[in-house]
């Protein structure tokens, strides 16, 4: 008597195979119905592929435009929101446009007017007229005032004094006007805002650690060495005026090590003109043997950074008073030293001498404040001792 397989099992088995076939058919159909996608066959031509790439490129371009429009719309919405929330006002001072809160408008006008008259009075430049400033006096440092770039932002914490606020405003205006120096010898020498903050103690520290015998002589009192170290020497920026032969050797070999070339002695790993120069430098053949390896812009080897040069420019502008900035920027062909001397209304030697004296006087007290720190620490120690004696451990209910 034959046993037929259960009908239910055969039905299930048939159903499973049917399901697989249906699933495969649906997948194929789904793939075929995806927009713009079709199976790439071996007969697909290069032209067809390029056509598809072009179409995708157009789509990408449209997407970028739409994203930019969305960002612009969001920026406008934020501006409207900020205007409603902060009640913004616009102040104009000597071709400068200052966006600020209504509550800060009077202060902004006073500060910008004072700073402009004191430090930039009489100077005519188109740059400030094309730039917007924002001014905010608040406890936090994030500036929510919307302004299209390249707006220069001035944020003054509430705890800072008026003179500190003026310094910030001066720095912001200087940042804008520094663009006027671009292309001139003084601009190439300075390369930054002359009103940027720099603690005098930092300058002294930088000079002590400059690894330059020229700077060392400057600190010892040799003013011409200071002039050379600042890149204002009569012979121009020469590395030999800044560094001794041994210091030049150290810098040259350090530069090579930074690019992965380790050389101590023995045959040069590179057998050409560069290799022979390298060998002469390593072996100290002549005092200037390593100068050939210090190529490029001499300012890139300057012992003092541009931020230190900015302190000299700052001193010149401070000494020159009203009209100093105009004298600094009026002649784009004037040498940097002459421009600084003109701005300060004195000789370059006198200016550099005063600058050196200022740096030496500003030598930081490395252990300043130790007395106060000690007293504070003792107070806290006594406080915690009192806490320890008041422990709840021995307090019975």
């Amino acid at each position: 008597m034959s046993r037929r397989p259960p009908t239910r099992g055969r039905t299930v088995l048939a159903g499973a195979w049917t399901g697989r076939l249906l699933l495969a058919a649906m997948s194929a159909g789904g793939a075929l119905t995806l927009p713009g996608v079709s199976p790439v066959s071996a007969q697909e031509t290069e032209a067809e592929l390029l056509r598809r790439i072009d179409s995708l490129t157009v789509l990408a371009g449209e997407a970028a435009i739409a994203a930019q429009a969305a960002r612009d719309a969001r920026a406008k919405a934020e501006a409207r929101l900020a205007e409603a929330e902060y009640s913004l006002d616009t102040v104009r001072v000597a071709d400068m446009t200052i966006v600020t809160r209504e509550s800060d408008a009077a202060e902004a006008r006073e500060l910008f007017t004072e700073v402009w008259n004191e430090s930039f009075g009489g100077y005519r430049s188109r740059a400030p007229g094309n730039r917007t400033f924002t001014y905010l006096r608040a406890a936090y440092t994030v500036d929510p005032i919307p302004a299209r770039p390249p707006a220069e932002r001035v944020v003054v914490p509430t705890w800072q004094s008026r003179s500190q606020a003026k310094a910030r405003v001066r720095s912001a205006i200087g940042q804008v006007l520094a663009e006027d120096l671009g292309g001139s010898p003084v601009g190439a020498w300075l390369r930054r805002n002359p009103f940027s903050d720099r603690a005098p103690g930092d300058v002294y520290r930088q000079m002590v650690l400059a690894r330059s015998s020229g700077v060392e002589r400057c600190l010892a009192g040799d003013v011409p060495s200071c002039t050379a170290a600042l890149g204002l020497g009569p012979d121009g920026n020469t590395v030999s005026a800044w560094y001794s032969p041994e210091e030049r050797r150290v810098r040259a070999l350090e530069g090579l090590e930074r690019v992965g070339l380790h050389v101590t002695s023995g045959p040069s790993p590179v057998g050409d003109v560069f290799g022979s120069a390298l060998a002469r430098c390593v072996d100290r053949a002549t005092p200037d043997a390593c100068d050939a390896l210090l190529g490029g812009d001499p300012d890139s080897f300057a012992p003092l950074p541009f931020s230190v040069r900015a302190t000299l420019a700052n001193l010149a502008l401070e000494r020159g008073g009203r009209g100093a900035w105009t004298r600094l920027a009026q002649d784009p062909s004037m040498a940097a030293g002459e421009a600084l001397a003109g701005a300060a209304d004195s000789s370059l030697e006198e200016l550099v001498s005063d600058w050196r004296a200022w740096v030496v006087e500003s030598r930081p007290e490395a252990q300043a404040g130790l007395g106060g720190d000690s007293v504070l620490a003792l107070v806290w120690i006594l406080f915690f001792a009192a806490l320890a004696t008041r422990s709840t451990r021995w307090r019975f209910a």
Partner: protein, 228 residues
């Protein structure tokens, strides 16, 4: 009463304190190791000044870290036996709780001076071993004073915490955790932005603690043995 407590604490901690003393003496010497003369092959004092200060800066963070480690170890060990024995010994003494706690704290503070003295000696030896170029000065006394104060601060903070009950410690930890969490969340709370807490409350709190007039301000000051 002070001497027995000092002796007991010393007996308990000496095997841990001795390595700390050795480390405190050796650290200034390690800082100036190899800086006895100009860099190899050179005679330029300007290069030497840079090398010295760079090496000192490299080891700077280790000094306050060592001070904190010494203080924490002494503080936690001060109450160790009391916690283990249920404070029976303390309760059996004819002393008020205030006197007992102060004597114990004084004993620990005395032991905390030992690594400070070791560091003071090591700093003087290190300063004498280096020929300082013009513009640089050594500050061994100031460094030792900072080290001693930092040790005492960390010791007193942990001593006060350890003197309390477990419940008190949990309250303190919960409070610190709450400050951290609220500080992180508070960056989105605009009503704080015009307040003294500013846009980053957690950073503001950390600044209060680590800078004057906070208790840990001594840790963030200048710990350089050799500087301009």
């Amino acid at each position: 009463m002070y001497q027995p407590m000092l002796y007991l604490h010393w007996k308990q901690i000496r095997l841990v304190l001795l390595p700390f003393m050795v480390a405190a003496f050796a650290l200034p010497l390690v800082t100036v190791a190899g800086l006895g003369g100009a860099p190899a092959g050179t005679t330029e004092t300007a290069l030497n000044a840079y090398a010295i200060v760079e090496m000192v800066r490299f080891w700077l963070p280790v000094f306050p870290a060592l001070a904190a480690a010494v203080g924490i170890t002494l503080a936690l060990s001060a109450w160790n036996w009391d916690h283990r024995l249920g404070h029976v010994y303390a309760l059996s003494l004819p002393l008020s709780r205030t006197e007992y706690a102060l004597l114990k704290m004084g004993a620990g503070a005395t032991l905390a001076m030992l690594p400070g003295i070791a560091l003071w000696l090591g700093a003087h030896v290190a300063s004498a071993a280096v020929a300082l170029p013009p513009g640089l000065h050594a500050y061994p006394n100031q460094l030792a004073l900072r080290f001693a104060l930092a040790t005492l601060i960390s010791y007193s903070v942990l001593f006060a915490m350890a003197s309390g009950t477990v419940k008190t410690s949990m309250w303190i930890l919960a409070g610190v955790s709450a400050v951290v969490v609220l500080g992180i969340l508070g960056t989105d709370w605009t009503f704080l932005q015009d307040s003294a807490l500013g846009t980053d409350p957690l950073q503001t709190v950390i600044d209060w603690l680590m800078q004057g007039p906070g208790p840990f301000e001594i840790f963030t000051t200048n710990w350089s043995l050799i500087d301009v």
